[in-house]
């Protein structure tokens, strides 16, 4: 997995690319979110458009990100969820936990 980010107004957009399957992937995302929190940036969108697939470790990384942000009075939302990831979120019922949007713009505009 490769990880990049950009800022859209006051929203941090994290864009992982490739496959999220564990190993070093977990710490990368975790460290980046903590850096955002330390900078007082608490609105985060994860743009999944370029993620080929993820396994349960990838789902664990998303959950960890969500709870990390919520514990710091922040919020994490998902955008551009691909069909494969959508199906994993559905079978694991995590679709009920995450707010998902069709585009980064829609996700960014959903923050109050």
């Amino acid at each position: 997995m490769k990880l990049s980010f950009r800022e859209v107004k006051d929203v941090m957009v994290l864009s992982p690319k490739g496959k999220i399957m564990g190993g070093p992937d977990a710490t990368q995302m975790h460290d980046q979110l903590h850096e955002f929190i330390n900078q007082g940036k608490k609105k985060v969108v994860i743009d999944l458009a370029k993620v080929d697939w993820m396994n349960s470790t990838g789902l664990g990384i998303l959950i960890s990100g969500l709870t990390t942000m919520r514990n710091s009075d922040g919020e994490l939302k998902l955008a551009n969820v691909t069909e494969k990831i959508q199906s994993l979120l559905t079978i694991t019922k995590l679709i009920t936990v995450f707010e998902c949007y069709d585009s980064v713009q829609e996700a960014a505009e959903s923050f109050k």
């Binding site: 399957m21 070093p24 396994n55 470790t57 994993l88 694991t92 009920t96």
Partner: protein
């Protein structure tokens, strides 16, 4: 010996998640030749990483002196994958239900549930000499009859 060993249908790795990418590259490289759809290929790749992660972490307890073997076999319409570790085995029935209300937000515990959802058949065999063998089957329709069926 702590190194990756590959044969035509098999890859063997030391028990470290650092080698998960190598297993994925090996498996996807083989499967791209047999005409699986993109979705079927992802299902198998995800399931293999789940089984290998379990074998490394829960089976071999990250002991790099123990190995995990992944073996592939195509017998149309079945694609069969075996993942073998050298651990002490476990009770699949004792794994908590990851979609139960209290478990939804847990970071771990979905691997077996996901591979059972994505593959057509999954069996766990516990070897008398130690180790767990996971057998996973995906049924597929090859894209072209003329394609090489053999891995």
């Amino acid at each position: 010996m702590r190194r990756i060993v590959k044969t035509k249908n098999q890859i063997s790795i030391p028990s470290s998640l650092d080698y998960l990418k190598d297993v994925d590259q090996f498996v996807e490289g083989k499967l791209k030749r047999i005409g699986l759809s993109e979705s079927e290929l992802a299902d198998v790749a995800i399931s293999v990483t789940e089984a290998v992660t379990n074998a490394i972490v829960h089976g071999n307890k990250n002991d790099e002196d123990k190995k995990v073997e992944v073996t592939l076999k195509i017998k149309e319409p079945d694609l069969v994958v075996w993942v073998k570790d050298q651990g002490e085995g476990f009770d699949p029935g004792a794994v908590p239900n990851p979609v139960a209300k209290d478990n939804i937000l847990k970071k771990v515990g979905r691997g077996i549930f996901i591979l059972k959802s994505l593959m057509d058949d999954v069996d766990f065999e516990f070897q008398s000499d130690g180790g767990t063998l996971v057998k996973m089957v995906k049924r597929f329709k090859p894209a072209k009859k003329s394609q090489d069926k053999r891995i």
